[in-house]
């Protein structure tokens, strides 16, 4: 297979393939050997790889040209979803296109880093304070729209994607320090305006037993799954936590727990290593990228991938509160697989469309 002619990055492609394979095996186990679920997951992954291949053929300067338009469309869809949701009083995250339903917030996961890279790359870097302000606004509007759906998890993720891009663009450390101080100062205020149950959710992180029926239950069961796996694991298809239905959302948000229970510390660390490897590969692509836009975009995508799996696994092993962030590539269901794969398509395009002659 000629990877360069297919515009694929060989190393990353094989790593993703490995993740996909592990994913199918784990979903099969977590779903209680349900072939229907596993099949649809495999199909979705296959479709994701198709999208990856298609996106990788597009030249990076085209992405750059499309960035503002894609962002505008994404923003429009988000507003549409809020309006329709308000009228229908129903689910506000989904847009029903008759054949497929999809979440416009997923588009934003790609469109926002693209837009910010485009916006920042138009002027000299590091950005001036005014441009920084503009960039913050660009990141804030979709994040707030998504958070209002309400989908706080994805909203945070989208905003984080924006923040990463700004960081890479060379936002001054002074500004970062001021912002960090601001966030730290806002935490007690945030704590005060939080609902009782939201505080409760944070507190149960430190003492899961205090709410064994609620969020604490998820954390406890998930930690039991991981911990009981031990060094070698219980073996494939032997996750008792998932099969006896103690582990909630075994196939989706908590899929890492199932994997760690069945494949133990060895499997868990290998999988974690695989994720780290993919994330680092993305950063390497950013390092080699040839212009400011491509660098910022590749770096932003890499960091957001890193961030997503850290948040998900952190939640599964009980060091982060329960937020509904799926594990990229592994988790069953949702439109997220397609978005993630499209993101990797962009990365591969940036990597394989470099001009051969340099310096």
């Amino acid at each position: 297979m000629n990877f360069q002619r297919l515009h694929l990055d060989k190393t990353m492609f094989y790593a993703l393939l490995a993740l996909a394979l592990v994913s199918v095996l784990t979903v099969y186990s977590a779903s209680g050997k349900d072939l229907g679920t596993t099949g649809s997951h495999a199909l979705r992954l296959l479709f994701g790889f198709g999208v990856l291949l298609a996106v990788a053929q597009v030249r990076p300067d085209n992405f750059e040209r499309w960035s503002p338009h894609l962002f505008a469309v994404g923003l429009g869809l988000l507003i549409l979803v809020l309006l329709i949701g308000t009228i229908g009083k129903g689910a506000q995250r989904w847009l029903n296109l008759g054949v497929v339903r999809f979440q416009p917030s997923e588009i934003m996961k790609l469109a926002l880093p693209m837009m910010l890279a485009w916006y920042l790359a138009r002027a000299d870097l590091p950005p001036t304070l005014v441009r920084l302000g503009g960039a913050f606004l660009i990141a804030l509007v979709p994040a707030v729209l998504i958070a209002r759906q309400p989908d706080l998890g994805t909203g945070t993720l989208v905003f984080a994607a924006g923040a990463f891009t700004l960081f890479l663009a060379g936002m001054r450390w002074g500004v970062i320090a001021v912002l960090a101080a601001g966030v730290a100062a806002a935490l007690p205020i945030l704590w005060n305006v939080m609902h009782d149950y939201q505080r409760h959710r944070v507190l149960t992180l430190f003492d899961p037993e205090s709410d064994p029926l609620g969020t604490g239950y998820h954390t406890i069961q998930s930690m039991i799954a991981v911990g009981s796996g031990g060094f070698y694991g219980k073996g494939w298809l032997n996750s008792s936590q998932a099969h006896l239905e103690y582990l909630p959302e075994a196939g989706t948000d908590f899929i890492f727990a199932v994997f760690a229970e069945e494949f133990g510390l060895i499997g868990g660390l290998i999988l974690l290593g695989l994720y780290v490897f993919v994330g680092l590969r993305a950063m390497l692509i950013a390092f080699y990228a040839q212009n400011a836009y491509a660098r910022l975009l590749a770096g932003g995508l890499g960091l957001i991938f890193f961030f997503s799996f850290f948040v998900n696994i952190g939640m599964v092993v009980g060091i982060l509160p329960i937020v509904g962030v799926p594990l990229p590539v592994m988790s069953y269901g949702g439109t997220s697989i397609v978005t993630v794969m499209a993101g990797f398509g962009i990365l591969m395009s940036i990597q394989t469309h470099r001009r051969i002659v340099e310096h």
Binding site: G90, L213, V226, S228, Y246, A260, V276, L280, F287, F306
Partner: protein, 631 residues
């Protein structure tokens, strides 16, 4: 800029690469934290979790709490919960769609399943996750429950549950105050704390049920059940009992409420009775009413459509959201303005000649008095007593619209009263700015008609009652309140909600208000008063004011004839009053839509309300030991 582009490019790349390295290092560190945590869980804590995993045959199950009761001021139950057998299906356990269809057919042969039940079930099927128990039927008879119970082992995915069902024993009585609960829908699901509602299917949707949801709800209990490897329950290990919701004691009087709804009969209208001494709502009536019970498990579309299409619009809360022109009832308040803040060209001590019409200087438009021949020479007393329009036209012009607004605002017009229900309307206390904001100019004629409570001014029955209570109470005001206390269902401990004092109506001289009250008393108790019909035989002193609010405009020179006007265009009848004048116990506002005259349609209803409160309690006091009635 002195930097040449090439150098700049180099600098950009350098910064970017530095940042990338920083980010990569931080993230690697985070990954190490994860690795360390996983290793800790799987190596050092492995024994602990392994034991837990094997012992993990204990499944926590939620026990829903009993929702708090709603009781009237005498302990009459307005809303309660009682257990009913419900037939539930977990679609995921049934299997495919065709299997589900088959199961529904089978169940249809065992128990009665109506088309409405099926429709409701289909709706839940679309909206709820497949692993959740969906209700097919409620209120199974004992025989039906027994038939299901016997075949239960063969009915995969079917559950027979004894669930607590909300019930409103008095049907539609006070429904606009009480509200109802209904099934939790998708948008509520995303708003509420799912943990607090575990095992529960209902939530307060309207009225007190919605406004006091947090107190009524209670706390979910937990039952830890030991299960076998297939998840079937073997025995109970531990039980944390649920905490029942608080019982709410309302200030409403169910008997009075019933009597008032009956007095309104088939007519559309609203009545609010308040205790002016603390703002307690004694009656909260909006007619027509409707039965909230079908809403609890989801009303079927036919019946719902019938309610929506009913021309009398029973679902509208007229007491809370009905916005009406106050008509002549506004004169009770503007009369006080005449004494308190007379305009430059107005002296309340000098009588006005009423010849039946009023012109603005330089205009030929005639503002007519309801009495064509006029009232002759009238002072403030006569103007209120006989409801002379010309007097108040002049007064309004002298005060100016700003003066009118400034004076009426402290009574609470144009603002929410703050009643403990959600979604209250504000009414309109107009001003030139208010109209300008809507792109319209203010016409001087509008100031004139606001003087008799017509034109752009709109009030809700609740505002009218609250303002009347302020008059009765010599300017002191309280937030109207429906719920008096919350009671812990177990310890019977009561938490009283103290009256909420509002800013009083500022008065230059308390005597002024005394005078107005005397004039309002003359409305009811002198033979020229417009409400003498209810006053001549009253055993206690009433102060009141009639009002008739135009619904349709009448052309210049035309005559309004009630009999010839279609019912929907007839005037609204209004009446406000309080009694006994010396020591007011009740303030009432009555609005009868298209009822005609305030004196004939609205005032008699107010009289019934006041009789019940004042005479009803007195006669009860004669029989019962006195101490119980010292409230």
């Amino acid at each position: 800029m002195l930097n040449i582009p090439l150098k700049d490019h180099f600098r950009q790349t350098r910064i970017f690469n530095a940042r990338l390295s920083v980010a990569a290092s931080v993230l690697l560190l985070l990954a190490l934290v994860l690795a360390a945590r996983i290793a800790w869980l799987q190596l050092f804590a492995h024994d602990h979790f392994s034991t837990l995993s094997q012992a993990n045959r204990i499944r926590p199950l939620p026990i829903p709490p009993v929702r708090g009761l709603l009781l009237d001021r005498n302990g009459v139950v307005l809303a309660s919960s009682y257990p009913v057998y419900t037939l539930e299906i977990v679609p995921e356990q049934v299997g495919s769609r065709s299997e589900l269809r088959q199961l529904l057919d089978d169940l249809g042969r065992l128990v009665t399943v109506t088309d409405g039940d099926l429709k409701q079930f289909e709706k839940q099927l679309r909206e709820r996750p497949r692993f959740e128990a969906l209700t097919l039927r409620t209120h199974l008879t004992d025989a039906e429950a027994a038939r299901i119970a016997v075949r239960r082992p063969y009915l995969q995915g079917v559950e027979l549950q004894a669930r607590l069902q909300r019930h409103y024993p008095l049907g539609g009585l006070g429904v606009h105050a009480i509200g109802y609960v209904g099934r939790i829908n998708e948008s509520e699901m995303s708003r509420i704390d799912k943990g607090a509602y575990r095992g529960m299917h209902h939530i307060g949707k309207l009225g007190i049920e919605a406004a006091y949801e947090r107190l009524l709800l209670g706390q979910v209990g937990v039952e830890k059940v030991e299960t076998n490897a297939h998840g079937r329950a073997l025995r109970n290990i531990e039980r944390v009992a649920p905490l029942a919701g608080r019982n709410l004691h309302l200030s409403l009087d169910a008997k009075l409420q019933a009597l008032t709804e009956e007095a309104l009969g088939k007519r559309r209208g609203a009545v609010i009775a308040l205790d002016p001494r603390n703002g307690a709502v004694l009656a909260f009536v909006s007619t027509p009413t409707y039965d909230p019970n079908p809403f609890v498990n989801g009303i079927d579309s036919t019946n719902y459509k019938a309610l929506l299409d009913n021309p009398d619009k029973p679902l509208i809360n007229r007491a809370l959201n009905g916005q009406y022109a106050p008509g002549s009832t506004i004169k009770a308040f503007l009369g006080l303005a005449a004494l308190e803040a007379p305009g430059e060209n107005f002296d309340p001590s000098r009588p006005v000649v009423c010849d039946g019409s009023f012109n603005l200087p330089g205009s030929r438009h005639q503002f007519r008095d309801w009495k064509k021949a006029g009232h002759g020479t009238v002072g403030l007393r006569e103007a209120i007593q006989q409801s002379c329009d010309v007097y108040f036209y002049r007064l309004a012009v002298a005060l100016g619209i700003e003066g009118v607004k400034k004076f009426l605002a402290p009574f609470g017009f144009g603002r929410k009263t703050g009643l403990d229900l959600m979604g209250e309307s504000e009414g309109i206390l107009p001003s030139p700015e208010w109209k300008r904001a809507r792109g319209l100019p203010w016409y001087p004629g509008e100031t004139v008609v606001v003087g008799i409570g017509q034109g752009p001014i709109l009030v809700t029955p609740l505002q009218l009652a609250s303002a009347t209570a302020a008059l009765a109470n010599h300017g002191r005001r309280f937030t109207p309140r429906l719920v008096a206390s919350a009671e812990n269902a177990k310890t019977r401990e009561r938490q009283e909600f103290p009256p909420q004092v509002l800013d009083p109506v500022p008065l230059q001289d308390a005597q002024h208000l005394e005078q107005v009250i005397q004039h309002l008393t003359a409305v009811v108790h002198t033979d020229r008063g417009t409400a003498y019909g209810i006053g001549w035989n009253a055993p206690y002193k009433i102060a009141g004011k009639t009002g008739t609010a135009q619904v349709a405009g009448i052309a210049q020179g035309a005559v309004y004839r009630e009999k010839e006007t279609p019912e929907r265009l007839r005037d609204h009848a209004l009446f406000i009053s309080f009694a006994p004048v010396e020591d007011p116990q009740v303030a009432v506002a009555v609005i009868v839509e298209n009822g005609g005259h305030g004196s004939s349609a609205a005032a008699p209803i107010a009289r019934k309300v006041m009789d019940h409160i004042i005479l009803g309690r007195q006669s009860a006091a004669a029989v019962a030991p006195k101490s119980e009635h010292e409230e």
